[in-house]
């Protein structure tokens, strides 16, 4: 019962975030800064976002034991030219972390914009709790394609990504294993909206649907399923 109640609480919280926060928004000028929308910041300018993601791992892995924990999400863009930007992102749950750096090319076509990106990520985690003496790390790559639509008040984004697991390794006690199959392990679709929120800030709300055989967030579960499992993810960010 405790687990059910906890899930309901998170569900209610998610609904409140999705429904109530946007209603507090003001209409501002159309050309507001973005993070997911495929439009780079001005040349030599930074664009920063702070927020969190909430991932629910598949029941096949967690069964009835999972403590939902948000992941801190810091995202930054740096404008290189009117079409190019550097894209950096850090995700952290303290005991497991994911840092990515990539490049993004984007182009506007009226109210639409399109972007192509490639991110290289390093992740690492460690667990030294009762019954655990393990750590792991690995390299993932994420080629992506984004399409955005600008209504003036709101920017809508759909992003498709492939997930490449280039290498991962884990160490349990003195025993180490690694894989370097260099293969596509899954893909993800992100549906997001960005809109003015409070003073000079903008709000990002998103949902990322990931189907993958391997997720860095669940390395400690040592999944043996060679199957595409579904990881729903809620994204909330504040663009500063």
């Amino acid at each position: 019962m405790r687990l059910v109640c906890r899930e309901l609480r998170w569900g209610r919280l998610a609904c409140m975030v999705l429904f109530l926060l946007p209603s507090a928004a003001w209409t501002q000028e159309a050309n507001f800064p973005s993070i997911f929308y495929p439009s780079p910041p001005a040349e030599n300018q930074w664009q920063l976002s702070v927020g969190f993601i909430q991932v629910t791992p598949p029941k096949e892995l967690t069964e009835d034991a999972w403590v939902p924990a948000p992941t801190l999400d810091l995202h930054a863009l740096y404008g290189l030219s009117p079409h190019f930007a550097l894209d950096g992102r850090a995700l952290s749950q303290v005991v497991q972390n994911h840092i990515s750096v990539g490049a993004r090319w984007s182009h506007s076509l009226g109210n639409f914009a399109v972007g192509v990106g490639y991110d290289v990520a390093y992740w690492f985690g460690f667990l030294n709790l009762e019954g655990f003496d393990g750590r792991a790390h690995g390299w993932n790559n994420y080629p992506s394609l984004s399409i955005g639509y600008n209504t003036g008040d709101v920017r809508l984004i759909v992003k498709a990504e492939a997930i490449l697991d280039l290498y991962h390794s884990s160490l349990v006690g003195d025993n180490e294993i690694s894989t370097n199959d260099d293969k596509i392990v899954g893909g993800a679709y992100t549906f997001a909206l960005e809109q003015p929120f409070w003073k000079d800030t903008q709000l990002t709300l998103g949902f990322r649907a990931t189907y993958t055989k391997f997720s860095w967030l669940t390395w400690a579960l040592f999944s043996t399923f060679d199957q595409y499992l579904f990881y729903p993810e809620i994204i909330v960010g504040l663009i500063l």
Partner: protein, 422 residues
Amino acid sequence: MRPLVGTLLLVSLILLSCQKETEVVGPDSASSLFLANTRPLEPVTRASMEGVYRIVQGEEFFSDLVVLKWSGAASGADTAFYLSGFFGRDAAHFVLSAGSLDSALFFSGTWRKLMTGESGLLRAVVPSGSGGRHLMNPLPAIGRDSITIQGTWGNGGEDPSRSIVFRYDRPLHRGKNLEIIAHRGGGRTADRLPVSENSVDMILYAERLGATAVEIDVNTTKDGVPVLYHDATLNLRLVQKNGLVGGVEDYTYEQLQSLVRLIHGERIPTFREALDAALYRTKLQLVYIDVKPAMPVATIHQIQQEYMAKAAAAGRQFELLIGLPSEEKVNEFRALPNYTQIPSLCELTIDDVRALNSRVWSPRWTMGTQSDLVAQMHAEGRRAFVWTLDEPQYIRQFLTDGQFDGILTNYSCMVAYYHYVR
């Protein structure tokens, strides 16, 4: 604005509600036709067939080697025998029924890959001139390449038309005894086995997956009946849709029997039904009793004594170990009279194991092989089982580098493969 947010929410809910359906193949009617008119195999034929075989055709999908082993499941006076094959990739295995006609041997059943969820039909023959005649001999002379098994298999619902051929290579490894302890009575429901976890049918299936022992989760009903159920709640992972909320301890045994069915339609079994199945219908040597929080250890101990007496009366080597996973359960255990004489398995530290005089120390596998501590346990005449190890590379390492006497796993077939090919 709200319509946009609503659309986003709707898309999210649709995606959240998506669930991939996977076809799980079971024996078909053609299988029984394939074995029609065949006769049961003699014990000597079955025993002679066991061994490690090289796969000379079909290895790209399965693996280079396959371990063949027989098991049986009794039903009244009859026993059905099954030939299992354990492969070294994706926890692949097959379970076949068998019979002989003239001097040829026929096999039919299903194969399954637990890691990928794939399954299909498999049929095979040992022709008379490819080992069938040897195997039907009262004193078979078996050597390398003396048996060739020619089979066909299909993926999913397709007819078996792809070829697989394997040849006898060597006997099974018969080194130090290793308990292959199947989790949840034999395997997890999440691995799409044809029977539900913690059911009587799963316990009867465990040996076909390579297990020599089983771990079961014992919980209690509202009226104090010990039953097998793992999770804290009645959820769709384990039971069919029924509208009930809460755990098994919120319902009487009668209510659970009438309202709840496990994923594959079985009833939630009582602890006694599970032990009856393990003791009288299988050759399993050991039951690792995982005592869930609401289940009193004293009740488990009473039933343990009852079944140890039954096993002795039946002349069976059958060990029942009370698993102690937490301080709370250890304290309950200590409250029992002469607790140091009660067969138990402790998951805490080796000091706890000594204080309780547990027969077995059972650490989580994520602590590594811990060979120095295992050696200390051995020096004191105790054993060490590691739980719950499923990752193939680590299974291989623990078997090679570790000194454990048993491995608790969801993939008995994988542990059996790595153990018997050594």
